[in-house]
């Protein structure tokens, strides 16, 4: 069986897939990739099932080798990427040979990056998924020296590229009502829409904290609400009135008030907004939300249709060449042009 060796890895990296739905009633949240769209992009680039698992990297990245020729794809937050001496584009697929070292990171923008392999990461599934649920200690947190088995690759394209949906710098996010929206005052809901929020440094796979200028957001009787079901995308207030966007490892029930819920197609943008990025929320009607809604199956077919052969851009090659002539060592900046 082909295996991938982790030479170096940033903190918090793990194996992720689309998670384990169906256990909400038992207190287990679905979990899975923080950016689900990135999993679909990887499946489209490699022409394989979206149910296969990938490695989710945090901004620091990592480096890897494999022991047999393998197809790889890179999606999510764009990182500096090198395969041996060659500089790779992001949101693209390549062939990787034994003996080559794949070095990813740091991230240029965004939070979560993904390394996909042909056949998927084939660690042992638990309860129907390979996704690590880090807050529960379910599934391994990747460490230097780990050797991960890969599934059998049925074969497929390489050197394909996707123009990914830009979702790495914050921006407008559409909301629909959630469990407690009606408990907030009209003024506070208007103020929530007119406030710019900054993605705080504090964040993990359970949720990310937002900071803002102005008064906290609270409802009447907010500490006595009975717990209701919580889903990723809900924006929950702490007792102090600070909002958090809840992510895949959020708890399954909660009693702190939730002001709204991010529409599913905007959730990757909310999750990928890096520290310091600005997010602006706007309530929309259900009709407006449905106009842009796509099921994950439809998103995947659209992505499959949008992959293109990867053409080497001569400017990139020139840049690369001149850069190496100067020093042969990177200055920490990505040498290629913006590719997303």
């Amino acid at each position: 069986m082909t295996s991938l060796t982790v030479l170096k890895i940033g903190r918090g990296a793990s194996v992720q897939d689309l998670g384990r739905p169906g256990h909400l009633a038992q207190g287990l949240s679905r979990g899975g990739a923080a950016d689900r769209l990135a999993i679909l992009e990887g499946a489209a680039l490699l022409g394989q099932s979206p149910d296969l698992a990938a490695i989710e990297l945090t901004a620091l990245g990592g480096s890897f080798t494999i022991d047999a020729p393998t197809r790889i794809a890179l999606t999510g937050a764009p990182m500096r990427a090198r395969l041996g001496d060659a500089s790779l584009r992001w949101s693209a697929s390549y062939r990787m040979e034994p003996g080559e070292v794949l070095t990813l990171g740091p991230a240029k923008r965004g939070v979560w990056s993904y390394l996909h392999v042909g056949g998927g990461i084939a660690t042992e599934p638990l309860m129907g998924s390979r996704a690590a649920h880090q807050s529960l200690g379910l599934g391994p947190i990747l460490q230097e020296g780990d050797v991960l088995p890969l599934g059998t690759d049925g074969g497929g394209p390489v050197e394909r590229h996707l123009e990914p949906q830009d979702r790495f710098a914050g921006g407008p996010i559409r909301l629909l009502p959630s469990a407690h929206t009606a408990l907030f005052s009209h003024d506070d809901l208007e103020r929530f829409q007119s406030t710019s929020f900054t993605r705080d440094q504090r964040g993990n796979r359970q949720g990310v904290r937002l900071s803002h200028d102005g008064a906290p957001f609270a409802t009447k009787g907010q500490l006595g609400l009975p717990s209701e079901v919580v889903v990723p995308g809900d924006i929950q207030m702490t007792g102090e009135g600070t909002p958090y966007i809840l992510l895949p490892e959020c708890q399954t029930t909660g009693g702190y008030p939730r002001i709204g819920s991010v529409v599913p197609v905007d959730l990757p943008c909310a999750a990928q907004a890096g520290p310091g990025a600005t997010l602006d929320f706007r309530f929309v009607s259900r009709e407006e939300a449905m106009e842009s809604h796509m099921s994950e199956a439809d998103i995947l077919s659209a992505l499959e249709g949008a992959t293109r052969p990867l053409l080497r851009d001569p400017r990139e090659m020139q840049d690369l060449l001149s850069y190496q002539l100067i020093s042969g060592v990177t200055a920490g900046d990505f040498v290629e042009g913006e590719d997303t």
Binding site: A182, S227, V229, T252, T253
Partner: protein, 252 residues
Amino acid sequence: MALPDAIFDRSEPPRLTPLGLDGMLVTFADELSDEANRAALAFRAEIEAQGWDGIEETATSLCSAFVSFDPVRLPPTDLQARLREILSARDWCAAELPASRTRWTIPASFEGDHAPQLADAAQLAGMSVEKAVREICAEPLRALALGYAPGQAYLGSLPDHWDLSRQRDLTPTVPEGAVVTAVRQVIVFATSGPTGWRQIGMTRFKGFRPDDRDKPITLAPGDEVQLRAVSAPELDRLADEPMAGATSEVIG
């Protein structure tokens, strides 16, 4: 941007509340009650039994049921109409508990390091430590809902004098198996984690066994748990027994 009118809907329970694009809450009460909990369990069971195309997952919390659905295959107006029809078909708050539930008897130690806040909790409940343990173990408590962590059950309800508020400060972590109490409820921790409730005992019970392929989650909502007081050495001995000495029987 004007706020959509739908945002301000909050009628009296039973109430349908959309939760984002693809979720619907059916809330039976705004405060925990036995009736609302039974209604939530029975209503969820009915939705599951009907097996509508487009429903992806259902769950309950203390006094509401939740439906996750595909908004393309099942438009929410259709879903709401069908849920309202089922709501009006009967008095859900008069529903019986689900048939074929399991009653667990779980050995628990209320001694020494196993019960660091038992004395505080007993005092707040207005009784001696001995009486507190007798009351906690007196009756089976029902799993009102599973949540917070996988397989972790909110067990209730204790008599009124156990309506203890949460601590001001969180306990940074209690171990898996810890027995904690607040707001007339008891939780046996299914993982280790932080809590604002007081730790009054310890079990070796595993509510979450991810390696068990057949039954990774031990309890189901509606099940009952009766705690049985044992000595600290007895609890240690039981740790090696199957299910750590817990026994089960089918009830209802």
